[in-house]
Symmetry: C2
Subunit: 447 residues, 2 copies
């Protein structure tokens, strides 16, 4: 039996579980449940499945596509009490956690062992949420996305069965890869109850390079040149001039208001020094107006904090909504699509910022609009659709890291074609009553 303090229908609690960081409309659940362990989850799932009650997992609400919004109401399953590090295995470079732990809490624990978990989406998201959307962020160019970090998941299925998807081995050719089928499934296939992740030694040396260019297109071309040069890059972020202006205002920094690449290089001291110098050479050959190497750790921290909070700076402007785009394209298409995006925003008279993880072809556009103006709202959506349409025409994807949730459903058929049927077949097989985060990813499941 669950205890009474684990269940709430309090108005404030319901409201807190009705939205995330996106601009998708909020919907409160009918009830919020706070499980303590896997057996609580099995009870809740059993109850929900018998009565076809929707179940929506909730981490910390930092999602950007509405995954945690219980659009069909029912139960919001809040993981705040399932936030433990269950086991650190330093010699195996593995850690076992519960899904409710945040990445900063995890890194706090790992630091004692000289280890860290590298995936960094900016927000202090929960690990469960990050698994569910296959999150990535600034370090994906070096470490890959969440899917590359997970060796094992414990999952409770809609029928109450508890399964493990992998093992503690760093690779396996045994059977189908269920780990990466569940990772990125946005809560629609099952509820994660334990997660085993790869962890890494904290690098010996870090250097940051900041380099300004006359145009965003020049930045994009420089990023492609660096990535194909073999320099060992850990982060490479593009921030356009509009974003730098906002960054300076929000953080009282004085960065030049020009399109900028923020680069981080990590490794052993000799290698980092070599690659930093080589990076400077390449950037100087490529039309950059400034190259600054930042070795002071405090100044580096300010720089990356500013970059991380950039999205927040825009999203929290008063009287203003934002649509955030998240396409990912082949590297060589990046300069062109960024240039087309800027022209489109300007031609419609909108305000918008462009920034992103250019190391893997993933960039974001934050389009600002007045939600009370139907014209502006429509224009903002036009830009979003144009960007996705360009990305797909270059062979890219509508979402590099935020997931489908609510906002990218309309692009699923165009992106995946017949494959979408296979995905829906797997969903129907594992969740025939459609209780697992219903209303997400697939636009047609309810029909």
């Amino acid at each position: 039996m669950l205890q009474s303090e684990q269940i709430s229908a309090n108005e404030t609690i319901l409201y807190e579980h009705s939205f995330d960081e996106s601009s998708h409309p909020s919907t409160p659940p009918n009830i919020v449940i706070f499980p303590y362990d896997v057996s609580d989850i099995q009870k809740v799932v059993g109850y929900a499945n018998d009565r076809s009650v929707p179940l929506t997992p909730y981490g910390i609400g930092s999602g950007l596509e509405g995954q945690a919004i219980p659009v069909k109401q029912g139960i919001s399953l809040d993981f705040q009490h399932m936030n433990k590090v269950l086991e650190v295995r330093p010699e195996d470079l593995l850690v076992k956690v519960q899904p409710g732990i945040t990445r900063e809490e995890l890194n706090q624990t790992l630091k004692k062992y000289g280890l860290f978990f590298p995936i960094d989406p900016g927000a202090n998201a929960t690990i469960g949420g990050m698994v569910s959307t296959n999150a990535s962020g600034t370090t994906a160019v070096r470490y890959g996305a969440m899917r590359q970090q997970i060796v094992d998941l414990e999952v409770v299925l809609a029928d109450g069965r508890k399964i493990r998807t992998g093992s503690l081995a760093s690779k396996s050719s045994s059977g189908y890869n269920l780990t990466n089928l569940f990772a990125g499934s946005e809560g629609t296939l099952g509820i994660f109850t334990e997660i085993v992740l790869k962890v890494y030694g904290i690098p010996e040396t870090v250097s940051s390079v900041r380099s300004c260019f006359p145009s965003v297109k020049d930045c994009g071309q420089a990023a492609v040149a660096l990535l194909t040069s073999g320099v060992s890059i850990t982060r490479i972020e593009l921030v356009d001039e509009r974003s730098i202006r906002e960054m300076n205002k929000f953080h009282n920094t004085t960065y030049e208001e020009l399109p900028t690449l923020f680069i981080e290089i990590t490794g052993n001291e000799a290698g980092v020094n070599h690659d930093t110098a080589f990076t400077k050479d390449i950037l100087e050959d490529l039309n950059c107006s400034t190259v600054l190497i930042e070795t002071d750790s405090k100044k580096r921290a300010v720089l990356w904090k500013a970059r991380h909070e950039l999205s927040y700076a825009f999203r929290h402007k008063p009287n203003c909504s934002t649509i955030g785009t998240d396409v990912c394209v082949p590297l060589s298409s990046l300069p062109t699509i960024i240039e087309k995006t800027r022209k489109k925003i300007d031609s419609l008279g909108l305000d918008g910022a462009i920034f992103g993880h250019v190391g893997d072809g993933n960039f974001h556009t934050l389009i600002l609009f007045d939600p009370n103006s139907p014209t502006e709202t429509e224009k903002a959506e036009t830009v979003n659709e144009a960007i996705v349409s360009w990305a797909l025409s270059y062979g890219g994807t509508c979402t590099g890291e935020h997931g489908v949730g609510l906002g990218k459903q309309k692009f699923q058929k165009k992106e995946h074609g017949e494959s979408l049927e296979i995905m829906m077949g797997i969903k129907r097989m594992l969740d025939p009553n459609n209780i697992m985060n219903p209303g997400k990813i697939f636009p047609e499941l309810d029909k």
Copy 2:
């Protein structure tokens, strides 16, 4: 219509498609078909599905678990004519190939662009075969396995539909990850017709280190120490003294007949020099009897050729069969399981060699036995079962890179538990007539 030269029931051709590099019993197909393109494959699949005729894809026959053996007869689908590089995209660090190309042919083409494809299972396997088993090999410690290299697959399903599983983006959070569901499915879910892979710049500098230890356990401990130290290792192979003895005989080399680590470090010159020196320091602190740094490229080539052909040297001994094990365990369990394995082989009076990719916890034991002696055959199988049983008890997997095929079916239930039902559900959904490589992976599908 297929052309007559694309279809053969010639005895020799049938025989050539009846076995692979494993010791599993051979079975000839009823017919061999050589498709020229995807439309040929769709025709064959349509025919086979209508009549429930088994279809077994055949690359180059280098598999080690019988995946290409048509155990239910029917059609062997030989990809030798579908071996083209369809597109090199150097600025996107991507290449699109047909499945029948071998990895050496691919690297020949990529070399012109300063690029290479890093996955190296030893054998000159086809890329299609490597995708189907999620192959890896000596470089997985740095680059991961095949699943980490694939961004998109074109697949023909049992019902004749042609799908794409991914895109040209280097990461995606759009929908379920079908790419890695099909990769590693050993031909049981569909036929690959195009494969898009990540490629990498050829490293500037390479150094090799060869280090001998008094015991295999010391080697294993040194490998774990190096991997947790943060040194940037591209290959780290353990070869036991029995293997070195065979290697010296087969290649006329004069390596010391002691348990040995073969290590490769790649990157920029300054970083490689630093890491090579650091590696030497660590190894000397850890009880090694020799550390030799090999910078001469010819001597390095001899060393890695000897390592690669080690398995071949044993497998082709006259009047002798081999069972090759392929477990993968958490790093810290490696020294113990290797020591237990050696004791078991010796205590049964068998001959056997131990070597493997210790950087990711994956090692192989080649157990030699006389196939005409039931006692020896049984003893060899006892060792195999003991190793898998230990590996699973440490949280590992029964196969790190060879796949399940025929030999690892009996361990599937023990390793995957309830998850095996989900895998079989996916199989039944996509291939209801069980025409796609029937008799592989799942022991119970036919019942």
